[in-house]
């Protein structure tokens, strides 16, 4: 057993209102620089929708992630038997998304509003490309271009998660009374088996042993761009101005000091939970090779129970600090993903073993049930359990997105969430009946204590309950020299200060 610690973020999708506060706080902190304007290390997508970059989930197009071939695991990007095929594409990558798949970064010519000469018409601020500096004829794509366009045939119907639905079922998605959509907030998954790391010819990308954060060494990156192609989530971004790839850094300067990430801290809906997990690094390959229908289960197995005394002893032997062990024992990530089994990874079938988890939303199901029953459906009733099995379309969609197509995993979570609602409603309103509420709870495998805890964490969770982030022992660090911290203040993002020499900035 090789125990390692991992920081993990969980998202309660029902509570996400799509306000993009997370994206904006991330942008303000990390990517408001030249070459990074188009990057959204944290972004929120409307689902069903095409996503950012367009149709990123379609790995026939981008060939990100891993595949099992002949019993061994290999990057989908390789297409051939060995790494040499990857290097052969170093000069031109057939699967690299270009800036047009994200959007051309732009600003507006605001000065014209002040400086335009007097005339008959209102002056306008024309859009201007931030790459070329030229005026743009028309903005064709932008951040959150398909925001709230859930039923749109232009965007929603291109969602790769709709696979496995018949044409008539897809058609139903655009019917107004059946239309549903919800939000998918995304950051880098800081995977256990990251494809970006595995594809980097320079060896610039690495996973940190102590907290599992995946980072790009900016000094070693040589702009071969393989990470952008290989990551199925398209979370490494290419900085076109500096010629370096950049990605979500899980706000490690904040988490190292015990503060939550900028996105999680800013979240107005309090949908995010951050905590530590212990996992067995020896089993990563086996988990990544597991067939689709058992993938989520295998991922739950690789996460170890931090309250098990043997695990704690192994963790101590592996050099994990006491504060990390304590944090893992109170980890919301562990509870949501493994103990209560209501959270699940995003697209586990990409086989990178992602470490962010999502609680699937009840709202599309309830909305659909209401539509089926002429608008009179009371969601918080035991009727729900009869109805849910009929909701093929949203269940299929959620399963494609969150459990590699295994509908049982999604159903289990949805039923548990509803059982908690019923239990709490009986406690607060008392119109269901005590024995009925308890039997619903036990039928989905939860104890009353579990229900109280789930309710507490997901509805009332305080800052300290939602974010259990152990501090990193910076005194042991060898990667950051505290003596240079002051010098690095004011430098452009990461990397060093730009220097002018021989007529160019270096």
């Amino acid at each position: 057993m090789d125990i390692r610690a991992q920081l993990s973020m969980s998202f309660h999708m029902d509570k996400c209102i799509g306000c993009h506060t997370c994206s904006v706080s991330c942008k303000n902190v990390w990517t408001s620089r030249r070459g990074a304007e188009y990057m959204w290390w944290n972004n929120v997508e409307t689902k069903p929708g095409a996503g950012y970059p367009l149709t990123w989930e379609d790995q026939e197009r981008y060939r990100g992630g891993w595949e099992v071939s002949g019993g061994s695991l290999r990057l989908k990007l390789l297409k051939g038997p060995g790494k040499i095929r990857t290097l052969a594409n170093i000069f031109f990558q057939p699967n690299l998304p270009t800036v047009d798949d994200y959007y051309e970064p732009f600003t507006y010519d605001y000065q014209n509003l002040f400086n335009a000469p007097a005339g008959d018409d209102q002056p306008v601020a024309r859009p201007k490309s931030l790459i070329t500096g030229e005026f743009m004829e028309k903005i064709v794509l932008g951040p959150n271009w398909d925001d709230d366009m859930g039923g749109s045939p232009l965007y929603a119907s291109n969602d790769p998660n709709l696979k496995g639905l018949s044409e008539s079922q897809k058609e139903m998605l655009t019917k107004f009374h059946k239309l549903f959509f919800f939000y998918l907030p995304r950051i880098c998954n800081h995977c256990l088996n990251p494809a970006c790391v595995a594809s980097c010819p320079s060896g610039a990308i690495y996973k940190r042993g102590e907290d599992g954060i995946v980072l790009i060494d900016q000094d070693t990156c040589r702009a071969w761009r393989f990470c952008v192609s290989a990551c199925p989530y398209k979370k490494p971004y290419y900085n076109w101005a500096n010629g370096k790839s950049e990605k979500c850094i899980f706000c490690y300067p904040r988490t190292e000091t015990g503060q939550p990430n900028a996105c999680a801290h800013a979240c107005t809906g309090r949908i995010r939970f951050v905590g530590a997990l212990f996992y067995d690094a020896d089993r990563i390959e086996d988990v990544a090779k597991t067939p689709d229908d058992r993938l989520v289960e295998a991922m739950r197995e690789i996460v170890l129970d931090p309250n098990d005394q043997r695990v704690v002893e192994e963790a101590r032997k592996a050099g994990i600090d006491e504060n990390w062990i304590r944090a893992a024992q109170q980890s919301p990530a562990y509870n949501l993903f493994k103990k209560w089994r209501i959270a699940m990874p995003n697209h586990p079938e990409f086989r990178t073993v992602p470490m962010n988890f999502y609680i699937p939303p009840l709202s599309p199901i309830l909305h659909n049930a209401k539509a089926e029953n002429g608008g009179t459906f009371d969601p918080e009733s035991t009727e729900f359990f009869n109805e849910i099995d009929k909701m093929r379309i949203p269940i299929r969609f959620l399963a494609n997105m969150l459990s590699a197509g295994n509908e049982q995993v999604v159903l289990e979570s949805l039923k548990k969430q509803m059982a908690v609602r019923i239990y709490i409603r009986q406690k607060r309103v008392g119109d269901i009946g005590d024995s009925k509420a308890k039997s619903v709870l036990s039928s989905v495998g939860l104890t009353p204590q579990d229900a109280e805890d789930i309710y507490r964490l997901t509805s009332l969770g305080t800052f300290q309950e939602r974010f259990v982030i152990p501090e990193t022992h910076r005194e042991h660090m060898t990667t950051v020299d505290p003596r240079t911290m002051y010098e690095k203040r004011g430098s452009v993002g990461f990397g060093q200060k730009k220097k002018e020499f021989l007529g160019r900035t270096w």
Binding site: L73, F91, N193, G203, I205, K207, A223
Partner: protein, 232 residues
Amino acid sequence: MDKVLFGAMPYVLIFTAIVGAIWRYRGNKYTWSSQSSQFLENKTLFFGSFPWHYGIITILLGHIFGIFFPSAILAWNGVPVRLYILELTALSFGFLALFGLLALIYRRLTNSRVKALTSSWDVLILIVLLIQVVTGVLNATMYRWGSNWYAGAAVPWIWSILKLNPNVDYVASLPLITKVHIFNALIFIGFIPFSRLAHFVVLNPYKYLVRPYQVVRWYKRTPQTENIVQYK
């Protein structure tokens, strides 16, 4: 004149390259990048980058092979058919590189996004590379048989430079185009550390073939180790 160009300048430019590379590697590693622009434009790039790189790398490896094994080349060329095969192969790779380079220059001139990112160093190295490839192709077509007298005249001169005993006589009688080709190659070497050309001296990609997929860095375990998930 020859003494300055082919006796002294090689040392000046090679020295510049070495000192420049050390200076940039130590002082500003962050800028060491291939500065790929595929992200901004990838349709013309396909017709430029692939032929250019595969053409020029083959030619370059041929030149390097010649430096170390000139007698092998001369022996190979002893039979006319083999000489024709070598010359024709080399020439076709030369044309491949030329085609790619022209496509890349065209792309840089016409695509507004790529143009906006073009620095004066980029222009400079494109000019140097164009001169190099054009004079190389001209050499091959006008003065036959290039592979023979490369092994016979240029290689001894290169060795005389490397042995710190420059003998300009080897190259003094070569035609003008060949001299331009040689001197331009020296300029090219001098430019390497200061421009995006730096990307081809990095040895990292070759390591990729032998390392395991996953890289884990620890900051606490001392001495600092690269602890790796063991599978390939």
